[in-house]
Subunit: 373 residues, 4 copies
């Protein structure tokens, strides 16, 4: 049943610090429980930059790409529905949760907290391209989704680019914001960071009925897009408000009685942002720390403020199938409110290094690789 | 109706850094809504030491004492019941919430979060002895409880010393632990600090069904009392485990799979304890930061751990009538399990300076002034 | 300072079953802590109909009207700010929480659950017009707001009719839906009842990010308005779907996999609606029972479904200052999304009986009395 | 490696209404991922009586027994640890979650709510004895645990009878009470029903710090055991308080101010208990409906009380691996407090029909089959 194409092009990271190379890998038919997907679009994420820089230990060579959308090419035996029970057929547009939990550790079996799984497999991150089934990353013409992957059919009204525009930032925020920080109608929300996670946070905060949304970030180009998309009520440019105190004052100024924000969301990845976020929150407020994905070391924090203000500081790590399902289910609402494609800059697979370098330069928001371009 | 005693002895802090002096103040009859109480016992709290050291701005002179138990001497017009609706009469043993919220700020009127009130009056702390009704602290023969004070009759089975043994640490933990950190049956709980707050935390954690309780603190005398009272399963002496890493290892060692504690409670007041507590918690765990009552400045914290572990870091500040009611209601259960009087060292009012100095020396756990001694 | 007008016209219910009569009452200047307000608009609520029918015991005669908006005429001594701390002056447009909790019962003092207060005073309901200060209902030219009333300045962008359009249904839903049932982005919400409570529920559910909203109610005129306002995605006319089974099927049909709604909201007041609502909810769903305000007796319910489906059935009663503050704060967002005035039919005070009879006929949604008309 | 024993004795239900028969089935070696266990003890549960009566459709013949403890006889390839990661070996005493979720339905994949799984396999209930591996019920000398079963090593300090004494009532209450109803220190808890579920509820409520526990049930023998074990502070005998009103009054009488219980737990299975439980709860209270496991039809309930009292009525159904893990982890605490073996009456496998008939008679609390007797 498998077509004649026997090799697949993929973008592979072979050495840390080096460029990504386009290689070819043998195509395999779908074993029972697996699904083979032709990739339409795959996002480039800040974590990919960190991988290239060698900040996370991964088994090289690795086909990068942990966020993608594609077309079902072949369903292995026993797969006839997606993870919500909807019928699945070749030709369907699909997305999938990027990780497969081990299903055996304490967090999986006893707590059902899959984002805390001690041994999960993650597409595009910790699956070596040298190990069968090789095609375990999204920056490729094709990806082999192993049994246990939670797949979801793309809602009919969404284009492929809309689906990939927020990348993993979308489900990360669904987990952190909707799943853990519980936004409430009318709240004043301050978001630190104007990258994809910050943008996704602002969009979902709006969807959840936030009364006022302040986005603190940069550079100006990104804030301009944020403004055009209508994701925030006030954008504070960190290149103009260069001092923490100035940002804190400006953010508090829009809160009732200057008491501070009901909810602050950290989406910068910079340790120093945390003390600043604590200062922006009101007494009794909540602080979602979702951006400290990689370890950048210690920072100075005054814990008295946590006690005195009765803050709730909430960490949230990545996401699991549960959050991805919710993300796919709510994405049409996001797309109704915001022009998601406006975030995307598209590149053919061969221009992957250009795309990564543009991302490093901060001149674009969301680079996307489209193997069919 | 008022008796002939027209002056009342009280222990007054007149200058920061100075000794406490025994002075006399005129007794006033109870105005409508007020209650005059003869003090039986009044606790000395770490905050009193801070006040003497001038670490909190207060209006001097001030009759100290924010934790006390007494006998109703006179009820003002309109007062015939305590805050739970139980009938109140002269001669009843009573306790009271130490603060009166303003009832007008945003936190009071709109949020009903009275511990966050912006202008609350606190007995023994921010009520000058020079301002009517003068008798606004517990270190005195008598205290004048103003209208709006939440009074509670002492449950019949409790002695006065049992009531005052935990001092304000009791309701502070009822607020923080029961009200905010929600302990669960079977959890592994690590408590940092063996003072009254740590002791109260351990007792209430036990009451709430904790499976294993580790108390990290010192000096050895305190841990010996903790052990005798049965408040913990393991006591880690910080004078023997002098390095943070050693304490972290020892605490994790008793947790299943060395994954860390389900719940860590900070009750030290030392900023440096916070990074250590974060390291002691398991992925998905909770960290109650209740001990950072006064501002001791910044400390180094790695916020990546908050994200990576999905920690919930919960601040809790003081308490309000709601928590005090729950404290009084549950105190008989605490007293059934633990010999509370074992914590107390009693002093006559005149020996207040000796009591404070013994407390500074750490040789006793809970000094209590008994004006009738 | 008080003007020359010494009598005030008001609509008084004197006997149950009888018509409401226009009477006059003496005006009183504002005592300390009180506020005198000239009424602009006062809503007529289903509860007023119940009061006229004698279904709730109230002290007659009573000036009805528990929902209103007005202009501050006079501030008593000590009142210079509203309940959020904003400055208050004569001439300001204001609204107020309709009840004053006793501040002495267990629910007030110990639990801070003011909607459960055992002895609260409610404007327009349990305050006799014969007892000073007489003017204790909103269906009048003027109302005397006693000390302890939580007042709120009307946000500048709102007209008086917008403020009164949802009446007490608005804060009732803020309490029940936002405060207790915690709606989540993307949920399928079924609302039983198309009166003001159902309309308010739909509006706030939309604001909170509901993915699909089904409104089950009638008559057709109301559903037409609901449709024009855009409050729901699907309106099920109970005059067309006359059998419960048909309504249950139709509601489930729009839920994914026909599993049922994530959240069902009962806003009918009919006991029989409850079994139907339970059938409409999915396994693991929530059911907010907010409409059973008056006692209409028993109904048949199968409790096995509560266990089997793991339902959470949540009762919610009226509201307190906390919810009213949140209502006023979020009303501008509601008004941005929905044309609130479309709900209102305005009458002069003298046509109160006509207004009540139109309401009984169901030909209008929200009758409002405007004393200045 | 498999021993010579090639057939296994088991108690099989062949026809509804009929007696259970002892049959023999072929033993199979453990396939990869499976575990073969020699049964030590297996509980008889009320559900088994319902199955015999034909109240639940099951595939006959079926080896009954969904609660058991045993010794590992053989581990299939790939199984070297239990569900908490502890090493597992032949000879270990083990228990296991009685159901295996399908892992493919919406509740499994998207919501991780495994007790709501639409197609779960349950040992001793919906696995036919005619289908391989045949040995799928606990009333047998041996059971074959299929891949996907969550096994747990029995804590060393527990005897087999202690482990089986509460049967499935234990994890059912861990799910309902600890997982959903969140008991709090000091609460007044009323429990309806003195069977295993009611007993387990009382024990766990005590462990969680309940201040006062009232057990409403019968017959007198059971209440006598409850009293001897110390599971409640007050036992209300329904044979002496035969009218609901009398029971409601008696239960409310022990609550502060007769306001009603903070938490009521329904553990009777009788629909009529629900209206009674609602009446026993205080305003703002919670009502856990965990006993309506099988469908006994409609009952009269007044939903006005749900609204007026702001009740939270919480359904809870069975349990999943998550709850079972917590049950096993906390069982040593339960056993420390209560003499669990006191609940048990032991029978050899051959006397299964006698055991069932004794259970129907209500003369014993927990019949247990011990195949090795």
């Amino acid at each position: 049943m498998e077509s004649m194409v026997t090799t697949v092009r993929a973008a592979v990271l072979e050495t840390t610090g080096g460029e990504v190379r386009i290689g070819t890998y043998p195509a395999a038919p779908a074993q029972p429980g697996a699904v083979v997907v032709d990739v339409l679009h795959a996002g480039i994420c800040g974590t990919d930059i960190h991988l290239q820089d060698g900040r996370l230990p991964v088994p090289l060579p690795v086909i990068l790409g942990h966020e993608a959308v594609g077309v079902v090419r072949e369903l292995g035996d026993g797969v006839d529905a997606d993870a919500t029970g909807d019928r699945l057929r070749a030709g369907d547009h699909v997305v999938w949760a990027s990780s497969i939990p081990c299903g055996r550790c304490h967090y999986c079996v006893a707590l059902h907290e899959y984002s805390l799984c001690e041994q999960r497999r993650v597409y595009g991150i910790n699956q070596s391209a040298q190990v069968w089934p090789h095609l375990s990353g999204g920056w490729a013409e094709r990806i082999y989704l192993q049994p246990g992957t939670a797949l979801f059919r793309v809602p009919a009204q969404l284009s492929g680019l809309e689906v990939v525009a927020l990348g993993c930032a979308g489900p990360t925020i669904v987990h952190g914001l909707l799943g853990r920080a519980a936004p409430r109608v009318g709240e004043v929300v301050v978001i630190q960071g104007a990258g994809p996670v910050g943008m996704a946070a602002a969009m979902y905060a709006r969807l959840a009925g936030a009364g006022t949304i302040v986005l603190v970030g940069g550079p100006a180009e990104r804030l301009k897009v944020a403004d055009e998309l209508g994701v925030c009520d006030l954008a504070l440019d960190i290149d103009r408000h260069t001092e923490p105190e100035a940002r804190i004052d400006a953010a508090r100024q829009v809160t009732p009685g200057r008491r501070g924000a009901d909810l602050v969301i950290e989406a910068t990845g910079l340790p120093s942002a945390v003390a600043e976020g604590i200062a922006m929150a009101r007494r009794g407020g909540r602080y979602l720390v979702v951006g400290q994905y990689t370890d950048h070391g210690d920072t100075l924090i005054n814990p008295h403020h946590i006690t005195r203000k009765q803050l709730e500081v909430i960490g949230s790590w990545a996401f699991s199938a549960q959050h991805y399902e919710r993300y796919v289910r709510t994405l049409p609402q996001v797309a109704d409110h915001f022009d998601l494609v406006r975030l995307v800059t598209e590149y053919p697979l061969a221009q992957v290094n250009q795309a990564m370098s543009d991302m490093r330069a901060g001149t674009i928001i969301k680079p996307v690789l489209s193997p069919r371009l």
